[in-house]
């Protein structure tokens, strides 16, 4: 009997067309994605690639994938790869398909469950040559990722869909939208910035988990002479400081790339890690806009990754003369990137459903890591992360977290009525969870006057580093209230009412919470955005009132944000009067 694989491999560009080795060759990689029988496009169970170009008003013909009878896998028509693939739109289609599927699979692996999109429907459209534009974005309204292309200043075509960073970044926006739809709402300055920064982090960490890329960066594409001992290639330890790693990993790859993609944000994506730590950025008006502010978050995460890598390298033996085995160095880097990516994704489950602030995310990250790996002593992962974030002014919210920066556990289980709840249904049934919420509304702080909705109920199974399974259920609810200015005190605890809101003004306010149930169906954490948190409510309203209404009404806000980020021609925000 032939055992069929559950994955198949496809050739992709490991980074982008500007990255070439010492012989001038493109850097390709083979990545595995879930096994499926592809339709034209390719179209699979999660993606529908459509190569329609609106600027030329034509549809490029798709490759008809064939199945290998023995393995059941689709046959990769572009293996072995070569230079000619850059001019083959069908390869571009395969590249975006494989990179988005790989990114999605990475999320599903970390979360231990299927992840849906942020719109009704199962297949995300991916349009690799959508129009002539130096831009690419995720559009919820269009259920699509759209990638532009253009003729660069040197007359060569530049395809945003061929950049691994950009494709993974856009895919992350779409996936994040599926996990936390509330994060796309206009809210405080951190939330939109988080969408952007998180997409950068996932893009970069998933590139760094490709060993080909790390090796390429450390050897500068084979241009650096290595010491050879037997079959080992050895690298000078001086190269392995955090700063040198940052430079080779980000600028070793980024330099050519930035020039090639003049007018794209790829450089910006990499620039963030060079942001020297400072606690002042968050207060600096220069970083008030989402397209700048996200870089603070990305910098804290990427610096954490480098610090973790250096910590791991500290445990490696050397081969005399401060020489390290290249293969081991690469391996430790890929592991550091991979582990950080895993907890970065898992942390989303422990975030509030809306109005995220960077400090909340940090608390979620620390909490989730403490859950699956209670013993932090080997590499001090959590300490390293916390210290790095603190250097950027990001700290867990003191009132809601413990000494380790983790969320306080839920303390009121004694007052919660569990008797009517069926645990099995609680793991997957919105109605059952809502009934539970409603019956316990007093202790959970759910305002009876607001309209409350359960927006998701998701089981989660994780394997801790100790090999133990952690089973949980994650539920999000949102409260919405339409009030008048006069009710700001009684509903939101805002007092005094700011002068710019009249008593008769109609406005909408929100409260929300994420409930984490343990495997026995008892509440472990309640991550809350109470409707009556006056300070927070006022912060949100003031921020929104200061936004240009034309920006709030954009159908594709990410398109605007990405353009502003590439060019930094964003508007200045007026100070609040």
């Amino acid at each position: 009997m032939v055992v069929k694989a559950n994955s198949q491999t496809f050739t992709i560009l490991a980074q982008d067309p500007a990255v070439r080795n010492a012989h001038g060759e493109l850097l390709f990689a083979r990545v595995s994605v879930p096994l499926e029988t592809l339709g034209l496009g390719p179209t699979g169970y999660r993606l529908k690639v459509v190569d329609f170009d609106a600027s030329r008003n034509q549809l490029y013909h798709a490759h008809a994938y064939q199945q290998d009878a023995a393995s059941g896998c689709m046959i990769d028509p572009f293996d072995p790869p070569g230079e000619a693939l850059l001019g083959n739109p069908a390869f571009h289609c395969q590249h975006v398909y494989a990179v988005v599927m790989r990114t999605l699979a990475r999320f599903e692996m970390a979360l231990g469950r299927r992840v849906g999109w942020g719109f009704d429907g199962h297949q995300l459209h991916v349009v690799p040559h959508a129009f002539v534009e130096a831009n690419a974005f995720y559009s919820r309204a269009d259920r699509a990722l759209m990638f532009g292309y253009f003729k660069g200043l040197d007359g060569q075509h530049v395809f945003t869909c061929l950049s691994h960073d950009i494709v993974a970044h856009e895919a992350t926006h779409a996936i994040l939208d599926g996990l936390r739809g509330g994060f796309m709402n206009a809210s405080g300055p951190d939330q939109a910035a988080f969408h952007e920064g998180f997409a950068d982090v996932v893009a970069l960490l998933s590139v760094f988990s490709l060993r080909e890329i790390i090796e390429f960066a450390l050897t500068n594409g084979g241009r650096i002479e290595l010491t050879v001992q037997g079959d080992r290639r050895l690298l000078n330890g001086d190269q392995l400081s955090q700063q040198n790693l940052a430079e080779s990993l980000l600028f070793g790859i980024g330099e050519e790339f930035g020039q090639q993609l003049e007018g794209l944000r790829a450089n910006a994506l990499r620039r963030s890690v060079m942001l020297p730590p400072s606690a002042d950025y968050l207060r600096d008006e220069q970083f008030a806009e989402a397209h700048n502010r996200g870089e603070i978050f990305a910098a804290a995460m990427l610096r954490s990754m480098l610090a973790l890598w250096v910590a791991r390298l500290g445990e490696l033996g050397n081969f005399g003369d401060n020489l390290y085995n290249l293969r081991e160095v690469v391996e430790e880097g890929a592991k550091a990137a991979d582990q950080l990516l895993t907890i970065a994704i898992r942390a989303l489950d422990y975030c509030p459903p809306l109005d995220l602030e960077f400090g909340d995310y940090l608390a979620a990250l620390l909490t989730v890591d403490a859950q699956v790996a209670p013993d932090d002593s080997r590499y001090d992962y959590r300490l390293i992360i916390r210290t790095t974030f603190e250097a950027f002014g990001i700290v867990p919210p003191a009132a809601r977290t413990d000494a380790d920066g983790c969320w306080h556990g839920f303390a009121d289980n004694g007052q919660v009525q569990y008797r009517n709840s069926h645990f099995d249904s609680m793991l997957r049934d919105d109605e059952e969870v809502f009934r539970f919420l409603w019956e316990n509304r007093a202790v959970l702080g759910i305002d009876e006057r607001a309209y409350t909705e359960v927006v998701s109920v998701r089981p989660s199974i994780r394997l801790g580093t100790d090999g133990l399974l952690l089973r949980e259920s994650v539920c999000e609810y949102i409260m919405k209230a339409n009030i008048f200015g006069a009710e700001l005190k009684s509903v939101c605890n805002i007092s005094p009412r700011p002068a710019w809101i009249k008593t008769t003004d109609a406005l909408t306010v929100y409260g929300a919470g994420t409930l984490i149930f343990d495997q026995y169906g008892r509440i472990k954490y309640h991550v809350q955005r109470p409707l009556n948190d006056g300070q927070w409510q006022l912060r949100r309203l003031s921020y929104l009132a200061g936004l240009d209404s034309s920006e709030l009404d954009l159908r594709n806000p990410l398109a605007q944000l990405h353009r502003q980020r590439a060019w930094q021609v964003g508007p200045l925000r007026e100070e609040q009067a």
Partner: protein
């Protein structure tokens, strides 16, 4: 000698600006300044060409054949289209030309030789001016490419999107005839920036004209809150991208020359839904870009503050917050603006052109009946700009409401279509 009063004629130009200022001096002496003359759409039943000509003739009569100065705040069509001439010499711009203005005052960004002659010397205090002039040229070209693109067909765009794109595109197209006329009709041309000398001093005795904007490249950079790349690059690249789409669809092989493709009219069923979405998204991209362009153009507006015998009259063109920021960053300027008596509402009443810190700083705002109450003058026509249906969940009080409640508001929108202007009188 000082003027004893001002007569302000706010002409009905639909969506546009046209103001004639008459400073009255003792002994029947009068001085006339025309601020802007353009339209992007007249009220129903009014023919644009005829109306502009009628206004030009009226201006001629009012100033008895001689204008002292013409001010063109910025190059948007709705502010300068009336200055355009025709071959027969019978257009509104030809009439204005015969009024032989002593001075034509424009923002520093309008020095044509800068854009035409790449080797023009940099002027002291205006570093980056040449690049700016060339950027404006690219922006005009981009706008005209957008309009050409729409002329070639709607490209699957919704009617609403196409008309918004078309409107902003048209307003930003270079009006070569008007620009040329402005450059040559006056005895003298002056180009001003924040803090530059009062070019009107000799022409308007007893009147002090403060130039509060636009800031120079260096002035803006000094208060910039964000790192920014050279906008010239941005507009240059986008102009190129659009030109390529407009001009050579047939002989440009595109990115994949010989690769088989299906025409957009024969798409297979499975791709039609998303194809429609992609077309619309492309249009939205263009709209975002031309909106940014429109805004940048507004921000080249002259901001003039006339001071006469303690009274202050503010004419900010269409300046938006980015232009205003430099002036408002100076406490002494904020103080200077605090007791403004007459405010020409910026950018036809759009929210972004009346910064909160400006409006909030006007001390003479007040309920009807307040002594020495602020007067505001608005030239606009509803339904032309912006998206009135756009609402959010946070109070966003329409500026108009505040203007109406807290100042003596005069809007050309309230005039009967047949009425040529509203006349306002201020005594000093």
């Amino acid at each position: 000698m000082s003027p004893t009063s001002l007569t302000l004629y706010a002409y009905q130009v639909g969506f546009g600006d046209c103001f004639l200022l008459r400073f009255n001096y003792p002994g029947e002496v009068r001085r006339h300044v025309l601020i802007d003359f353009g339209s992007m759409g007249m009220p129903k039943g009014v023919a644009q060409g005829q109306r502009l000509l009628a206004i030009a003739e009226d201006i001629k009569a009012k100033c008895a054949g001689k204008l002292d100065a013409v001010v063109a705040t910025h190059r948007h069509a709705d502010h300068i289209s009336g200055f355009a001439t025709n071959r027969a010499g019978t257009a509104s711009g030809d009439v204005i030309r015969t009024l032989a203005p002593e001075l034509v005052l424009q923002p520093w960004t309008e020095q044509l030789e800068l854009a035409e002659d790449a080797s023009a010397p940099e002027q002291p205090g205006l570093r980056g001016a040449r690049s700016m002039a060339q950027t404006l040229k690219s922006m005009n070209a981009l706008a005209s490419a957008v309009v050409t693109l729409l002329d070639q067909g709607r490209h699957g765009l919704s009617e609403d999107l196409a008309s918004r794109l078309g409107f902003i595109g048209e307003d930003n197209i270079s009006n070569a005839s008007a620009v040329k006329n402005l450059a040559s009709m006056g005895k003298r041309n002056a180009f001003a920036f924040f803090g530059s000398a009062d070019a009107l001093a000799e022409l308007l005795p007893g009147v002090r004209t403060h130039i509060l904007g636009p800031p120079t490249v260096e002035q803006s950079a000094s208060i910039r809150k964000q790192r920014s790349r050279d906008p010239a690059e941005f507009w240059h690249l986008h102009r190129q991208l659009l030109d390529a789409q407009v001009n050579s669809p047939n002989d440009d092989p595109g990115p994949f020359a010989d690769y088989p493709a299906t025409r957009g009219s024969k798409l297979p069923m499975s791709t039609r839904w998303i194809a429609r979405r992609v077309r619309e998204a492309r249009g939205e991209q263009l709209l975002q870009i031309v909106t940014a362009l429109d805004k940048q153009m507004n921000n080249t507006s002259l901001i003039l503050l006339f001071e006469v015998a303690g009274k202050k009259l503010l004419f900010p063109g269409d300046a938006q917050i980015e232009n205003w920021s430099y002036a408002l960053s100076h406490p002494e300027i904020r103080e200077l603006l605090a007791d403004v008596d007459l405010y020409k509402v910026g950018h036809h009443g759009s929210l972004n052109a009346t910064p909160k810190s400006l409006w909030g700083g006007f001390r003479k705002r007040g309920k009807a009946g307040t002594a020495q109450r602020l007067t505001s003058v608005l030239s606009t026509m509803p339904g032309k700009h912006g998206n009135p249906g756009a609402g959010t969940e946070v109070p966003r009080r329409p500026l108009l409401e505040a203007l109406g409640k807290e100042s003596e508001l005069h809007s050309t929108d309230g005039l009967e279509p047949g009425v040529l202007y509203e006349e306002l009188e201020f005594s000093f």
